[in-house]
Symmetry: C2
Subunit: 186 residues, 2 copies
DNA sequence: GTCTATACACCGATAGAC
DNA sequence: GTCTATCGGTGTATAGAC
């Protein structure tokens, strides 16, 4: 088994159980590898596994969700493309955000900087698109933050309420909200 | 020490470390009680401590955040009052939401129903106020869910970005957004 | 590379003195 | 009620055969 394949199988364990809940036993079971084999791929142990998982997910997020924002085409289309990818990335709201899960407890002390950078990169890409759509710099940044806020909040609501509708509704309205004229945004 | 005092001291440990990260040793340290003393107050152990903490926090939330929604006065004033209390409750966005933290891993299987009920109660109270402000039933419910979404998302952003501004901005605009005429809400 | 077996610390939980 | 001491189990991590 390649290391990348192993990482892919580790992802859902960290996403579901969080850092402390993702025990090496569970990680071993999920990959089908013995504990010692896991330590062959990740000599520094669980923290290295989590770091690899985080990097893997961030890469995938950049390639599928952020990339469309940098593509050619008009801003509205790019934002819609991002939303489509977001919906797939989070399985219509059924799956939690790894970043938000790893922002607690010990994991937070380990990965705070990486998580902050990843989130900022996303927000910045959205803000860039909004500026191209004639938002002034400050408003664009605020609305980009709002986008991240609504996605994160919708994921929580969807999980707690056992309904994907809140997430899907947020996704559906997001491009319109972001591009609305300034006067109607309050 | 009274049981209630003990519970109050347990709260920040669960909120900061999550369920698995809140070890009995840490809980013991935080309260100043020995492990065995904790088990005197909570015979079923950690799960009972978490349940007590959850109930305590929900009670406080109901008394400070939800209560203003049921008070007399016009809807706008009631929503502003809720926002003021929300800001204090989460210390301007510096403190995480216990409900969202306990909605992962083993804690989620233990407390999912309680968490869902608590969140629904809050959303319902907001929706009720919006209906009194002449929102139709469905729109009121959607906007109430949006309020919860934005608060939860803002708490995540504030924590990850180490800035309280996103939370404070969401709080500041929330009453206006909720009461905006339907046509400008998309 | 993958395994079985194991080391050692810490987990949640309990016994029993005071 | 609170403590010290300790239990059995599981946690992370390693050793060493294959």
């Amino acid at each position: 088994m390649s290391k990348t394949e192993a990482i892919a199988k580790l992802v859902p364990v960290f996403r579901h159980y969080g850092y402390e809940g993702a025990t090496v036993s569970r990680l071993s079971q999920a990959t089908g590898l013995g504990k010692a084999s896991l330590y062959h791929y990740f000599p520094k142990g669980k923290s290295e596994m989590a770091a690899a998982v985080l990097e893997y997910v961030e890469r995938r997020f950049a390639q599928t969700v952020i990339a469309p924002l940098h593509s050619p085409g008009d801003p509205q289309h790019r934002l819609q493309s991002m939303c489509q990818s977001l919906s797939e990335f989070y399985n219509s709201g059924r799956e939690a955000c790894l970043l938000s899960i790893l922002s607690h407890g010990e994991a937070n002390t380990l990965f705070h900087q990486a998580i902050q950078t990843a989130l900022t990169t996303w927000i910045e890409a959205i803000a860039q698109v909004l500026q191209e759509a004639n938002c002034d710099r400050e408003l664009a940044w605020e609305r980009a933050e709002d986008a991240a806020i609504q996605i994160q909040g919708a994921l929580i609501l969807a999980r707690v309420l056992d309904r994907t509708e809140p997430f899907q509704r947020i996704i559906a309205y997001l491009p319109r909200k972001l591009l609305a004229s300034a006067s109607s945004s309050v």
